[in-house]
Symmetry: C2
């Protein structure tokens, strides 16, 4: 019974890591669509989100089955509930990638990101994608050290967000209101992807150690 | 045993309704701070968020205790897990109110919302607050009809968001980039509060009927 339980639980974590890989692809493509103004890539992100949603449902069904049939207690119970939360966050990260793709699509044939702020946006996008990639490994390997390190790197995203605001609101900004609003919302979406990545990593720490990592609210 | 279970479950729903009341106050005060530029009210929202977080922890502890000690199955299990999700969403709605309050505080002694777009922002804020108020009653009464009606009203928020963008991006906008960015982010925060309200209402439908309400992603 216990062995079957742990096999099934491992299966759920394999599915979570796979979903995280799908989110990584979504973030990567959404950024590509954004920086190139390619409507086709944006559409791919939007339509592929259905697969992430389908995977969420499968993970949820499996987690419920595990709770119902195996009646875990203590640490095992907390692990299954943590998995349910992780799956919600991964789905949300997919939704946020769709939001980025939709801004890209809205501006086609133009590019939403003006040249002067491109470097900052690229760094935000790369930071978000890098965090998602690392979370995938953290889930797969239950890697507590890497998870704690990820939490520290969240500060990089905060700095980039402040930098983007300084650029938007500086006297040099020559791209008008529409581009500024796009950049502010894109920054919010990438920041939230990073927040969720940290939150998922913290849940892995909790699953392994039983200790909650204290978190800031964003 | 079953009776004790249902008493404890009722207690969790009482706590959820109370948290929703705290969120309602937070949304109301954040809006007041925003429209008056009152830093003191903004601070109240920010510091009161700790109480919402404390309540979240209590609800989570109670829900875990219920899962561990009573080992519910089928519908009862799904209800407890739904409660765990509702509590996360309510906490998040509190965080979003804090975001609104922080934009208000950032612009003191000025007011972040220019006169020309004030009416639209007031309607967004009132819509969000009204939805939170109704969710409180929906949780307390397990009112499926009211929950389904709330989902329909989400369209009002979408219309207001589109209206605010039309105003921001129109030729008449004379308030510059900073105010536009503030309005775009504020709109996003109120919209997300409304989304979470709908999601919490949908979970009440699920708890009562066993049927998931299909949802859009925002």
């Amino acid at each position: 019974m216990r062995e079957a339980f742990h096999d099934q639980l491992d299966g759920i974590f394999v599915d979570l890591a796979e979903m995280c890989g799908q989110v990584e692809v979504a973030v990567n493509r959404a950024t590509a669509a954004l920086l190139t103004g390619d409507a086709g890539i944006a559409e791919q992100v939007i339509s592929a989100d259905r697969e992430i949603d389908t995977n969420r449902e499968r993970v949820e069904d499996n987690a419920f089955a595990l709770l119902s049939l195996q009646q875990p207690v203590a640490g095992d119970l907390r692990t299954v509930v943590a998995a349910l939360r992780m799956v919600s966050e991964l789905e949300r990260m997919g939704d946020l990638s769709v939001h980025v793709a939709k801004i890209a699509r809205l501006r086609v044939p133009n590019i939403a990101v003006p040249e002067s702020i491109r470097e900052t946006m690229v760094r935000m996008a790369e930071t978000a994608e890098d965090m998602v990639r690392r979370v995938k490994a953290i889930i797969a390997d239950r890697d507590v050290e890497a998870a704690i390190e990820l939490g520290r790197d969240d500060e990089i995203m905060d700095q980039l967000r402040r930098k983007s605001f300084a650029e938007l609101l500086g006297d040099d900004w020559a791209h008008g209101v529409e581009a500024a609003v796009d950049i502010a919302l894109l920054g919010r979406y990438y920041e939230r992807i990073a927040d969720h990545a940290v939150s998922v990593a913290n849940r892995v720490v909790f699953v392994v150690t039983g200790e909650m990592v204290s978190r800031r609210d964003n």
